[in-house]
């Protein structure tokens, strides 16, 4: 019998979409493993302080159990606190897999949790399938490498628990299975007496200039490193004006100071899903894609035909943005009359 756990991430007592995606992935994993014949369900864990509502929400999903580590010491996330709860639990129960959403928080603590709990580490998977070359029903996992230009298929070897994180958007939260009956959340005893405080939280700060709300825009023209400089932004702004679009950017443009930080799309910026997203000179690194791949129509303009942005785009033009963008502005103006 395989034992599957999923550790969800809560934010002020709410479960973000990526946590439901992780639950859906754990349910799928529980159903796929040999010897499980669909009877063994996943168990979920949530950590924090005052998280009864999150636990109750979680308990509506089709799960074998919901475990809650609700403790004042877990009010602010710290790796010491989270590892202090999870490492002994993993060592004691020896689950086969523990699924996490792949977020900036989990990347901060899950690798070290693997090291301290003696578990394997399989970060940022986008999918899995039963390995057809093996007769033991083992799994073949897919994860992106080289900025998403290629993907790697990996097998897990050796004995013991494996910690798996699932990339945002890889497993659909819509495929989550609801339970017939709500399970009663079970408290986990939290004993952090032996845990060395590793990080004293002093506070949180909004990154300066977080003012423009790009999530409300219907049209977005996004600029990447390929634009080449702040002085070359003019034609992009013209295109945005012709479309009635907001201008946005991938991280390198912001780091170079070519646009202010409140224009950044991606995992460290805003997540958007406009009607039309035009990506000009953006190669499509995963950190960018997670912030925009839900857009209804994606247009990519890039001189590298192998750029990963073309895998998520609906329409593409392979060419120099400095030639394509002015021509596109003109054509859109003509079309709109």
């Amino acid at each position: 019998m395989a034992k599957i756990w999923v550790v969800v991430q809560q934010r002020e007592g709410q479960l973000p979409r990526i946590s439901w995606e992780a639950v859906a992935a754990a349910q799928k994993l529980a159903a796929s493993l040999p010897g499980n014949n669909g009877s063994e369900k996943a168990e979920a864990i949530v950590l924090g302080s005052g998280i009864g509502l999150a636990a109750a929400e979680l308990a509506k999903a089709d799960l074998a159990a919901v475990h809650v580590a609700d403790h004042d010491a877990l009010r602010a996330y710290t790796p010491g606190g989270y590892i202090g709860v999870l490492a002994p639990a993993i060592r004691a129960a020896k689950p086969d897999y523990v699924v996490f959403p792949h977020t900036y928080q989990t990347v901060d603590y899950v690798p070290r949790l693997a090291q301290e709990a003696g578990a394997g580490l399989l970060p940022e998977v986008t999918g899995f399938a039963v390995d057809s070359e093996k007769t033991d029903g083992g799994l073949l996992w897919t994860r992106p490498i080289l900025g998403g230009k290629l993907q790697s298929k990996v097998r897990v070897k050796g004995e013991g628990t494996v910690l798996v994180s699932v990339q945002s958007g890889a497993f659909s939260a819509d495929s989550l299975v609801k339970g017939d009956a709500q399970v009663d959340p079970q408290p986990i005893a939290v004993d952090l007496a032996g845990v060395k405080p590793d990080r004293e939280i002093l506070g949180y700060e909004e990154v300066a200039g977080e003012k423009v709300d790009l999530t409300k825009a219907d049209y977005i023209v996004a600029v990447g490193r390929g634009v080449g400089g702040a002085d070359k932004m003019g034609p992009l702004e013209e295109l945005a004006k012709a479309l009635g679009a907001e201008i946005a950017a991938s991280r390198p443009v912001i780091d170079n100071g070519w646009l202010p930080r409140d224009r950044q799309i991606g995992s460290s910026g805003q997540t958007v899903a406009p009607r039309v997203y035009i990506a000009a000179g953006i190669s499509g690194a995963i950190q960018h894609l997670v912030g925009m791949k839900g857009s209804s129509v994606i247009v990519a303009i890039n001189k590298d035909a192998g750029a990963p942005i073309f895998n998520v785009a609906h329409y593409g033009i392979v060419g120099d943005l400095h030639e394509v963008v002015p021509a596109l502005t003109e054509a859109i103006r003509a079309a709109k009359g």
Binding site: E124, Q151, R275
Partner: protein, 264 residues
């Protein structure tokens, strides 16, 4: 302060990539390699902190012979010495195996701080530095956007990037491992003098035995992950590419946006 900086040499993803004959990695012949982007920021942060405190930077890297180029570049911008985990047994490791090897190498000396990049551009594990910290029993912070030394260098105020434009500010006791995010500083370029000086600096080569490790604990043998294949993602679900010269392609795009997608 004595500062260790761990860097990785990675393929330049802008180059044309070909899958190797065994299907498990890239064809490395004619493949250009560069220092991993985040690691260049880690090195710069290390050099700045060493200058401020009158210390030195020792740079560590794991990988085959070609990695010597990355180490020479780090020596050219100001690292004092380098340690190369050069043995072929080290190659092909997952984050756990590589973190274990680097921790053993770092532990042979005494450091106040270990800096790494937050993630490699090729394998993207994002956890090697945290695992290294676990072996040393030191605190770690991942995705660091700011470091301020405090209390006579006994602690540091660290800014960690979170999602959605928020930063966490925390205080950690030193020694610690900090995993640096791109954009924290502006990495310097090597001067001609620096490049000449680098040639005279020491690069120590170490084997698993030198680190007190068994070859089975490092590299591919010491990993829980086994790469079966690498491939380009299946296309087909990808974009409709509009062909022709710029004018033709743009006209076709506008036509699609109006009539097919109905968004104009």
């Amino acid at each position: 302060m004595r500062i260790a900086v761990c860097i990785k040499q990675v393929p330049n993803t802008e180059a044309r990539l070909r899958v190797s004959r065994d299907g498990k990695w890239l064809e490395e012949e004619d493949l250009p390699f560069v220092t991993n982007e985040n690691d260049s920021y880690a090195l710069e942060e290390g050099l700045k902190l060493a200058e401020k405190t009158g210390g030195e930077v020792v740079v560590f890297s794991l990988g085959p012979e070609r990695v010597k180029d990355a180490l020479l570049k780090a020596l050219a911008v100001g690292a004092a010495r380098a340690v190369h985990l050069a043995d072929s047994a080290f190659v092909g490791g997952d984050a756990l195996a590589t973190g274990r090897a680097l921790a053993a190498a770092v532990q042979r000396e005494s450091f106040d701080l270990v800096l790494t990049g937050s993630q490699s551009d090729d394998l993207r594990f994002g956890g090697t530095g945290s695992i290294l910290a676990g072996h040393l029993g030191w605190p770690h912070v991942w995705l660091v956007m700011g470091v301020e030394l405090e209390e006579g260098n006994r602690s540091a105020k660290v800014t960690r990037e979170m999602e959605s434009g928020v930063n966490e500010i925390s205080r950690i006791p030193l020694p610690a491992v900090l995993e640096i995010q791109a954009g924290i500083n502006h990495p310097r370029y090597a001067s001609l003098k620096g490049i000449m000086a680098a040639k005279k600096k020491e690069i120590t080569r170490v084997t698993p035995a030198d680190l007190g490790l068994d070859a089975a604990q490092v590299g591919a043998a010491g990993s829980r992950l086994e790469v079966v294949s690498v491939s380009f993602p299946e296309s087909g679900a990808g974009a409709q590419i509009l062909e022709g010269d710029v004018k033709t392609a743009v006209a076709a795009l506008v036509d699609k946006l109006r009539k097919e997608a109905r968004v104009l």
